[in-house]
Symmetry: C2
Subunit: 414 residues, 2 copies
Amino acid sequence: MKKDKLSTEPYKGVRDFYPRDMFVQNYLFDTMREVAERYGYQEYSASILEPTELYEAKSSEEIVSEQTYTFLDRGDRSVTLRPEMTPSVARMVAAKRRELGFPLRLYSIPNVFRYERPQRGRLREHWQLNCDIFGISEFEADTEIILLASEIMKAFGAKENDFEIRIGSRNTLEVLDMKLIKRGISEMDRKQIRSLLDKKGKMPEDERQKEIERLAGGKIEPQESDDSKEIRRILSDLGIANVTFDFNVVRGFEYYTGMIFEVFDTSPDNNRSLFGGGRYDNLLDIFGAEPVPAVGFGMGDVTMRDFLETHKLLPPYVPSTDLYMAVLGNEHVGAAHAFSEKLRAQGLNVAIDYSARKVADQIKAADKLGIRFVTFVGSDEVASKKYTVKNLKTGEEKELEESAVGDFIWTQEM
Amino acid sequence: MKKDKLSTEPYKGVRDFYPRDMFVQNYLFDTMREVAERYGYQEYSASILEPTELYEAKSSEEIVSEQTYTFLDRGDRSVTLRPEMTPSVARMVAAKRRELGFPLRLYSIPNVFRYERPQRGRLREHWQLNCDIFGISEFEADTEIILLASEIMKAFGAKENDFEIRIGSRNTLEVLDMKLIKRGISEMDRKQIRSLLDKKGKMPEDERQKEIERLAGGKIEPQESDDSKEIRRILSDLGIANVTFDFNVVRGFEYYTGMIFEVFDTSPDNNRSLFGGGRYDNLLDIFGAEPVPAVGFGMGDVTMRDFLETHKLLPPYVPSTDLYMAVLGNEHVGAAHAFSEKLRAQGLNVAIDYSARKVADQIKAADKLGIRFVTFVGSDEVASKKYTVKNLKTGEEKELEESAVGDFIWTQEM
């Protein structure tokens, strides 16, 4: 059964996270988490595996039948690796509608799967912050969700002119639809027009305009509906200035029932939609539950990482390990252990090298691990209770009393 | 396509995590994380989806063919939802063998899937802390891994007499195997004997003994091998007293090459194996990589949660939201927003109720959400800049200047 040379590659379109990658991932997640909780959102989670029927009700057929990982389990039940989190959270809210308190604010950072032909920047698995507020039909919920999205961007160090919030509305699109019906445009063409609106920035603009005009039998100039006007007014009161109306913001028409928004990178190098969301008041219907108004958004890790890289906002790597303890001979392992336990009791994270290699090799290992400080445990140190701490970033060395090592590293790390 | 009354149940054998469940899960993960990092372990992660061949090389055929979620993707590649993390981390280490520094200490808290007939306490998905140290063949790596496991138990509040560390060894089992070969016992029966050793505590003891004797053609009394003696000696030097030798500790014979250990709950109500691990020096062979010695363990969330519940060690629920702001009329939403932003700037997590319901209903919602403090924003409060803070746990109320509310809640929460 054993094969020679099994590949060390991960499955196509998914990622391995080594400690340096995990550091970035944790930075993203911790920042998202901190802001979401600041606004009263509480964390939930669900399994990646869901019954397929959960997606058949509201997602487009194209997504379920062509873009999901769907298979039969050993009991012949059709299951799907979630392509998005919203159906799961709607299911959970419907299940405990009476026990939960409303307004209910929930967030989660799940991984989601889409089957895509692997290509640059198109991954089959990514992580996605989902924030949703349930139980409020007033515009305050819409504006809070947009405020939260904006605050997360700012917590990442983005300035207001680094990104733009574009607001659309289902109402605007419905009025447009009505006008097109009056012009005698077929349902299929109207759907095609909505899909072309959504493609703004994703295809040549003149081509897109020409195609819309052809299908619509002339120019279209949708007017802003009252809901998005009011939402923009409240956002302006909240001091959020980088907001525009854009009738091209469509996203999932099957899904959204009110405001729809999308956040765009304003950088010319990365001018694209970063993430978005909107109001979906009807989703709980599929469970036969009383309707619960809901607004939310999803923010993906891959897009956000690209944004932060483009704008040079990613912090430099700092490993979780503070100190590497090089041991100069096996007979000193006991002393190294005792010393490291003292430092750990002071809150330091300490790794011991048990290899008894040459000291240069031990330092090299610490450096590969990205650990900033090294200390050495040999006969002299054990006898004198004095230890040299070397900073691998600067090359500086300092000899310290055993009891001073912990404080020294704490101070240096500040 | 739309169906009436879609079920709100999750897929069989997996769990939904509402904020109260997530609190426990985060408590478990944060504690594991903190101790792992204290010992210099760095976090990594990989996708839940792996090529099936990764498991065919070393896992038992029974597990791959009967207990995994394995299916063909749309490109006819066989993929598997990981049933364990070790093959993934071995793959990652093999892939970057030259870039990584050794000793390499890694941890992760992945979810893993096993297809099991659903029954009480048997879940199809659970989370599992994995800690591994690569690159050290000396016993210090074995003892560090056991020390780490023991420190995590203590960080959860377990006392040394709440659990027992049982150490076995592949060497012990190999010497036994040789003796049985000399007695003329067939390979199949020897395998059966190992499986019976592993069943200690999982079936009636006299039945187990009788069956072993029958298969072995007499009593078996394996002697402790030198490696586990030495490991027990070092652990004793490290001050870990709750360690015994137990030749019944077998776990995955295909896998482990040296020390094997298991941690048992000593409570009579829950006397069972909690988790375990061991040394596996040959796993990187399957990638054609040079061998890298490795020791590690896996600790599951379901078992640990049971253990902590049995020993009454789970902390009470504290929601991430500190304060619920009841708004007494829509005209005060702006003032509530401005006040909440001041409190958020002081580090408080604040949720606003935009519903304009009766105040009793707003308090009820806060209570359902488990939030401890409520404050009220109405005409009087806005005019006087004085706010009443109500503690929903004790019923106490206190009127405070706007500027004193943040500090008051901070102090109360300490």
